[in-house]
């Protein structure tokens, strides 16, 4: 591969971070130009896990390609599935039963909890704190158990399908989540005791990797990353889908724009997710788990764009249909991770190498989502 971070003189020192470095959470490769400990430039080298899901989807039917989306941002699998299902339902003008809307929203918020827990676990680990990892994985385990009971899968769900759900939820679904939330609300306060007030953790995060509101908008950042910079961008508020317009919850917005603000946004979002779930669990209506949708789906000619809020930000599905085929003519997944990563070189210019790790941890990148 041609080097793109140019070597200007012999004193320039290029350091490769990744692709197998543990703090890159997968196969992200960064070439950084440094002088001593100070970072002069960062270049992300991508593609180590590029599978060209968009090309594969062109050869699969509308029911099949959704399975691919679970394998992009695997921590937001339900939300990715939902984005595709919504795009197809809107194109076909199918209205799903209320029960489906409830269950989909519940699953999305549970996914957000599980994803933020994993981020919190890894964020602590990246900065040298091992205990959070075990604590958060204990909590996350219970959510994946619920998912396993619902759809037989713990990571790649494929449970939300065009028209509804793959099958009905098992008995005791709501009660199980209620019990879980009661336990988790107690342990969530431990998260604060363990990491939020920790002097070393605060020192490594406060004032590090600052991103202003204007820059967040210019780089296309979304999700907690943008909201920590004061940019309101929650798709659940801007383009409500499923049950979100009927629920009361806050969009968490902070203005500091540093790693610590991003940390606080996600912690606060967990409390909001619990609040959302509590509003939904008692009211799941009776009814069908699917609307009538043909086995072989064909979309009318045209283009359809659907956004949802995943744990990382705005995930968009852009489908182009030629009106004849049972598979999309072209499909594009707008992944939140790629845009958030785009801001990384800017955020870390002039920082120390240790700060780069802290900033990367606070961006909560999932590499298969960036590479696709």
């Amino acid at each position: 591969m041609q080097p793109t971070v140019e070597v200007l003189n012999e004193r320039d020192y290029i350091l490769n971070v990744g692709p197998q470095h543990p703090s890159t959470h997968g196969v992200l490769h960064l070439r950084i130009k440094i002088e001593g400990e100070t970072i002069l430039d960062v270049e992300p080298v991508l593609g180590y896990i590029h599978r060209s899901i968009e090309k594969m989807s062109e050869a699969l039917t509308y029911r099949q390609f959704i399975q691919m989306t679970s394998r992009m941002d695997y921590l937001s699998a339900h939300m990715n599935n939902l984005a595709c299902a919504l795009a197809i339902e809107n194109a076909l003008q199918v209205e799903v039963p209320d029960k489906v809307k409830y269950i989909r929203t519940i699953l999305c918020e549970l996914t957000r909890l599980a994803s933020h827990q994993l981020w919190w676990a890894a964020n602590g680990l990246d900065l040298g704190a091992v205990t959070p990892f075990f604590l958060a994985f204990r909590d996350r385990e219970a959510i994946t158990d619920i998912f396993e009971e619902v759809c037989g899968s713990r990571l790649t769900m494929n449970y939300i399908v065009p028209g509804g759900l793959m099958e009905d939820v098992p008995e005791g679904f709501a009660d199980k989540i209620k019990t879980y939330l009661d336990t988790f609300e107690r342990t969530l306060s431990e998260y604060d005791q363990l990491l939020t007030g920790n002097e070393i953790f605060r020192g490594r995060n406060i004032g590090v990797g600052v991103l202003t509101k204007e820059e967040a908008l210019a780089y296309g950042c979304t999700g907690p990353v943008a909201r920590a910079s004061g940019l309101s961008c929650d798709v659940r508020k801007w383009f409500p889908y499923e049950m979100y317009d009927k629920l009361s919850f806050e969009e968490i917005i902070l203005t500091e724009g540093d790693s610590y603000a991003r940390y606080k946004v996600r912690i606060a979002e967990m409390y909001q997710s619990i609040k959302i779930l509590r509003q939904l669990l008692d009211g799941i209506p009776e009814g069908d788990f699917q609307a009538k949708v043909k086995k072989i789906i064909k979309l009318p000619a045209g283009e359809f764009y659907q956004r949802v809020e995943t744990a990382r930000g705005e995930f968009g599905v852009y489908i182009v249909s030629d009106g004849k085929s049972s598979s999309p003519y072209r499909i594009k997944f707008r992944s939140p991770g790629l845009s958030n990563l785009a801001a990384l070189p800017f955020m870390t210019k002039g920082a120390k190498i240790g700060d780069l790790i802290a900033v990367m941890a606070s961006l909560d990148l999932v590499i298969p989502d960036i590479d696709r």
Binding site: M1, Q2, T4, P44, V45, L46, G47, H50, S52, E54, K55, M56, A59, L60, T61, N90, L217, A218, Y219, G220, C221, W238, A301, G302, E303, F304, Y305, R307, E314, G316, Y318, V320, S327, Y329, R330, K332, R334, L338, S339, L341, A342, A343, F346, D371
Partner: protein
């Protein structure tokens, strides 16, 4: 500003663009040579401007290519799709919008990598996913890879 109002304004400033209402958003069709000017106009001259670049991608049609920009105005809550048509499929070229949104840099690299569309005025156009030694542009419809392709 509502879509209807915008259409009247655009018909004045860009008489060469046409409108289409095939999806849940308004689509503006324009030639690649005028696309940059139109997007800059929508971002800076229209009030309230389209300040968010939601999505940037391309489509390969049998005899031409299209670069697709999905814009969003946070103040008026209006969404737009802009499809810029590149007639020359053999050496497609259009002007980069990196100076309007620096976040477009990686997205344009992706399009260059997978479609082979050259973006002029781009700070560092490179094959960001596949690497410089990869032959062909996989998201083009005529790209064939005998071994790795998934077909039904």
């Amino acid at each position: 500003m509502q879509i209807e109002e915008l259409k009247i304004k655009l018909a004045d400033a860009f008489p060469q663009c046409t409108f289409e209402e095939k999806s849940n958003m308004t689509t503006i069709l324009i030639n690649a040579s005028d696309a940059y000017a139109l997007i800059k106009y929508l971002k800076t001259e229209v009030n309230p401007g389209f300040d968010t670049l939601s999505c940037l991608t391309a489509i390969d049609w049998p005899d031409y290519m299209e670069v697709v920009y999905i814009l969003f105005s946070r103040e008026s809550k209006t969404q737009l799709i802009i499809k810029s048509k590149i007639s020359d499929r053999n050496s497609p070229e259009t002007k980069s919008i990196c100076d309007l949104w620096p976040g477009a840099e990686l997205l344009e690299c992706e399009i260059f990598d997978l479609f082979g569309i050259n973006f002029t005025n781009h700070p560092l156009l490179r094959r960001v996913f596949l690497g410089e030694e990869w032959i062909g542009y996989p998201l083009r419809k005529d790209y064939v890879d005998e071994i790795n392709m998934i077909t039904l």
